[in-house]
């Protein structure tokens, strides 16, 4: 495959950007992730072996964005679980925090999952990739993708049960 970078940027740039933004929800971090992903592909010695550039970029962006999310969670010492627990429900009337807060909690919990589980969950549940696509990118068996997604969902569900015993309507 001929790697015309301007063509690749024009074709897949928005895809990389959207995935990075969805995971990170932070423009400066997403810009860093966008550039890191393209740099990594540019410096990859065996990039001619990539069959599906779009799927590869989607997986790589998810992976790097989750790494960045994890770094950000570590860096941001102000955001800890107790803060989230106090943020999720207002003590006065027991009403739930709004959906945006829940999305941020989901991101936080995602960054706490083992990397393969987080990647598989995100690609299947949010990016709507098929198990076969994810298995090909992660270089694992198709069934193993199912196991990773199931474990991730189970853990996230348990965390949500603890943090948000009543889901918002």
């Amino acid at each position: 495959m001929d790697w015309d970078w301007e063509h690749i940027r024009d074709q897949f740039g928005p895809l990389v950007w959207e995935v990075a933004m969805r995971v990170l929800n932070h423009e400066a971090d997403a810009v860093d992730c966008y550039q890191d992903v393209f740099l990594e592909v540019f410096q990859k010695p065996d990039r001619s072996e990539i069959e599906d550039v779009g799927a590869y970029l989607r997986w790589l962006t998810t992976r790097r964005a989750i790494d960045a999310l994890r770094t950000r969670q570590r860096r941001d010492s102000r955001t800890n679980h107790s803060d989230l627990e106090t943020a999720i429900a207002s003590p006065a009337d027991g009403t739930m925090a709004d959906f945006d807060e829940l999305l941020n909690i989901l991101r936080t919990e995602l960054s706490a999952l083992p990397a393969p589980q987080a990647q598989a969950f995100w690609l299947v549940s949010v990016e709507h990739c098929s198990y076969d696509e994810v298995a090909a990118q992660m270089d694992v068996e198709r069934n193993h993708v199912g196991v990773l997604v199931h474990r991730a969902r189970r853990q996230l569900q348990q965390r949500l049960t603890r943090l948000a015993p009543n889901s918002p309507n």
């Binding site: 970078w5 301007e6 940027r9 740039g13 928005p14 950007w17 959207e18 933004m21 969805r22 423009e27 400066a28 810009v31 860093d32 966008y34 550039q35 890191d36 393209f38 740099l39 592909v41 540019f42 410096q43 959906f99 829940l102 999305l103 989901l106 549940s125 949010v126 990016e127 709507h128 969902r153 996230l156 569900q157 949500l160 049960t161 948000a164 015993p165 889901s167 918002p168």
Partner: protein, 158 residues
Amino acid sequence: MNNSSQDERGDIEQYDLLDQLTQRLREQSVPPLPEDCQHWVPKSAVETQPQSKKKRIHLRWLAAAAAIVIGMVSWSWSRSPKEVIVDKTPVTNETMQAVSTGRTKHLDEIRRGLDELDREITELKRQAALLDAQRKAEAMMNRMATLGSSTRSIVDES
């Protein structure tokens, strides 16, 4: 049984919530790709760091340097004497004599003050001893009066 069915219902609700959240993440609107990313190609940045990172690092260095400079300036400002009075009067024998006389005079005054203080302390001690003696005498008189009245009542009864 009841608990387990409640747990199952809770699980289903949380699964529903998780699905709703992932769906929201999928559908959430994303701001457009920034202008500098639209024209950015990795070829131009391969030997350097990504531009935004580089800028951020430069800014951090600049902020650190500015903080150091401000700290040093404020420290030196706080250390510098605010007003320096230089007495350029030449030191003569008369001046030395005057200083010496003045110092002796002050020392004498202090000594006198201390002597006076000693005297006052002695007087206070004496007064305290008197007060103590007076209190003791009063207490003894009270006891004697009590004894006298009780003796009188015994005598009267007998």
